[in-house]
Symmetry: C3
Subunit: 347 residues, 3 copies
């Protein structure tokens, strides 16, 4: 589908001031460096300001103080990055499926499907499921019995939603994601093995949540696993049973939170950052990449562990082995200090 | 489905002693804190004992020495947690599918399917596969040629089982899991690139194994990858080609074991704990979360590496940079010590 | 299918010299230790040379200098491991599907499918997709609109390929992999939440690439995510939007590269090695297992961080806590040194 908008239309949508030719036609988005005729670029990070004079973009979204350096058409906005984010929806390359249920989909007669939803080929919807208005479910996805999709949810291909999972409105789930699988709950069976604890809770997900590809969110053991509103979750994230994730929190790829832990609002987990089970992380906490949070955090701020300086493997080997000697070094240091001070400095 | 049992029936199943009203009706399970009328709770961890007097549970599973403090109905058991685990099966919310093969399933005429299995919509079963009695395979899953599911296996939706994978009895596999994909085997091709090594082994999985969502277990290069009995595997775990995992071993989320390594029996891998290739870990070893096992372990016990104290990122930066100076610090400490001792302490 | 070749035929294919009986029949491959009658083994790693005299293999692939110690049939090659890799293709246990489109597949009338491709049950191919000659797409996989599979690609079951993804020739993708999901792009919305940045770029993948099970490769935000030729990617790897991966690079399980970062050619990422966003790693760099590359690398070589010696958890606790005291220790060491040198060494 060809996109083609006037700069003035875009300005109106964004609430931006046009400087230059409002009738210019915009047919795509691109970076400052790569944009050409018909393409709209943006300048958000000052370190790219030097690219502005040579940019061949049809127009640039930028802030008032950067606009002085621009020679071509401009859309002036206080927050150019947010403007770019908002207008990106007009240029999505994802095909928008019309309403309708593909003939190959298998919809239980006791599922409730609103008229205007799209359900793709080979989708399976079990009894008692409710699919609200405006939802789109792509090919080969599975919606288990009793699960609910709020309005305008977008479920990509090959998504698995178990039974009794409740999504709010505008939830977007990417391919390979699994919502509502059993939590990892087992009791030692007294004979060296394990007795499964059946996971009888569900999953509740708020509005405007995005869930990345191959991310897994387990159902609760007793009671639900709960994801707040506008939580954004990258690919291959693991959320264990009975976790609670506060509104607006962001979890980057390979981050994980173990059973029954609570993440506050507005938290950010860097890539592969993990949280052990049964702890509480308060609002406004950042865990840097690869950090393992081993205890509750009650004070907002940025926390780290594990990550150490990058060096050549040869240098690393020498330094790393010393980590295993730290207790010894610390004691020797204390001794060396007391030896020093024990000796008369003056004669 | 409404669950409704008498306390006496549950006591009989668990071999528990009833104290109070055996005719009380139990319709659900819940935590001590949240349970209400009709709900059975349990007290396993002494730190929750203080919740006992105020609990509104219909009945509580607890040990004899805790029972003194309880005012309501009790089920007295030596191991309350195991009792809760066992009875959880009576309250599962997972729908139990009746036997039958959905019309949309694609079953090769040369597959062997026992009469009482459930095969959901769009499931594909290839030639030579054998599905034993009592198995259930949910929507959109794939069973490759020659693979075998022992009795009472439960395969969730969107599971992929490649060819020549053999499961024991009562194996449960969650959505998105992939069993029998090619191991990561390549030889340098002498021109800077890679020559694929076709993976001609299979996968053998024991009885009573649980495999979490999006977990991957690769087939062997030559010979099989082998998972013992009652191994429990969380979500997003990676088991590489030709690994051997001993009975009863537990692997938490994001844990991984690289090619040809062997994990003993009764081992526990914490979250994101990894094992390098071609090593042996003996029985009864625990690797704490995020640990990387870089060499064989021959003595039972708990092992760790990598994880360091959680601190603010600002503090971390200061300490972390010192790790790169440890070799230097160790040498200087030695020098300081010898300077100290070289000097006469007494005059 | 029964494989049965003469040793002479195999020698001809590999360009190997036969020593012994070229008419010997080879029906399988196995390790030196396990091989029996009819099985071909190989000796690549000298540490297994001691197994050679007792091996019951029908024949062994080995180098000229090892051949002296062999008593049975030999195939003499300069690079036995590469020879084994090449011949493994003759013994693959994967069933080779004949050409044809299964009746249950849902192929849009505007998709272009070459005559000799195999498309399995319940596969969905959307409008504008192109499937070139020799491709094979297994059950329940999804190919989005406008995506292109070059010649002889092999797509396993339950793979998700979004729209506008372009694969070169001979690309192999394992089950559960997701190519072209949205990158993790969000702008703060000024109200504490997030504004989605629609990801309007695509994914371009070169020739001879292998992509493991449950691996995710996101589409670009603006412009494409690019994977070079002969890149080999293990299971559960995450490649974020707009990354560029150079030819021949290998990424082991759980490795990840964050947004807009560039990996050079011939790089190797060990298991769970991660690269932060917006950095460049030059050609011929190895990152050891679990390393986090936090800054650009401009010099070839092997780099490490994070990984520390494996020790018992008890020892680890003592040493680990000292890491949080390193800044203090470093200062005290400096003080101890200056105390030492401040004092007269001679009297």
């Amino acid at each position: 589908m060809k996109r083609d908008y006037s700069l003035a239309d875009i300005a109106e949508f964004l609430g931006a001031e046009v400087r230059g030719d409002g009738s210019a036609r915009i047919t795509g988005l691109n970076t400052l460096q790569s944009a050409g005729a018909g393409e709209l670029a943006f300048l958000a990070n000052p370190k790219y300001a030097s690219q502005l004079p040579e940019s061949r973009a049809e127009a640039v979204i930028l802030s008032a103080d950067q606009a002085a350096a621009a020679v071509g058409n401009c859309l002036i906005l206080e927050n150019p990055y947010l403007g770019y984010a908002k207008i990106s929806a007009w240029f999505t390359t994802a095909s928008c499926q019309g309403a309708g249920i593909h003939a190959s989909a298998v919809i239980d007669v006791n599922a409730m499907i609103k008229d205007d939803v799209y359900i793709g080929p080979n989708v399976v919807v079990e009894a008692g499921a409710k699919i609200e208005s405006g939802c789109s479910i792509e090919a080969n996805s599975f919606i288990g019995s009793g699960s609910v999709l709020g309005e305008n949810c977008q479920i990509a291909a090959n998504v698995s939603i178990y039974h009794d999972v409740v999504l709010g409105s505008r939830v977007r789930i990417h391919s390979g994601a699994v919502i509502g699988a059993d939590g990892f709950g087992f009791a030692p069976n007294g004979e060296g093995g394990w007795q499964k604890i059946h996971q009888i809770g569900g999953v509740r997900i708020g509005d405007d949540v995005e869930i990345g590809a191959c991310t897994t969110i387990d159902r609760g053991a007793l009671g639900d696993t709960v994801i707040g509103n506008m939580v954004i979750i990258d690919n291959q994230v693991q959320i264990a049973h009975n976790c609670v994730i506060g509104d607006n929190t962001a979890m980057a790829g390979f981050s994980a939170i173990a059973g029954s832990s609570v993440l506050g609002r507005n938290c950010i987990l860097g890539g592969n950052a993990c949280v052990v089970g049964h702890i509480q992380i308060c609002d406004n906490v950042t865990l840097t990449a690869k950090t393992l949070a081993t205890k509750s955090i009650t004070k907002p701020g940025s926390y780290s562990s594990i990550v150490t300086p990058l060096m050549t493997t040869a240098e690393w080997r020498k330094n790393s082995v010393r980590i295993g000697q730290l207790e010894d070094m610390a004691k020797r240091l204390k001794k060396a200090e007391s030896d020093s001070t024990a000796k008369p400095d003056k004669h």
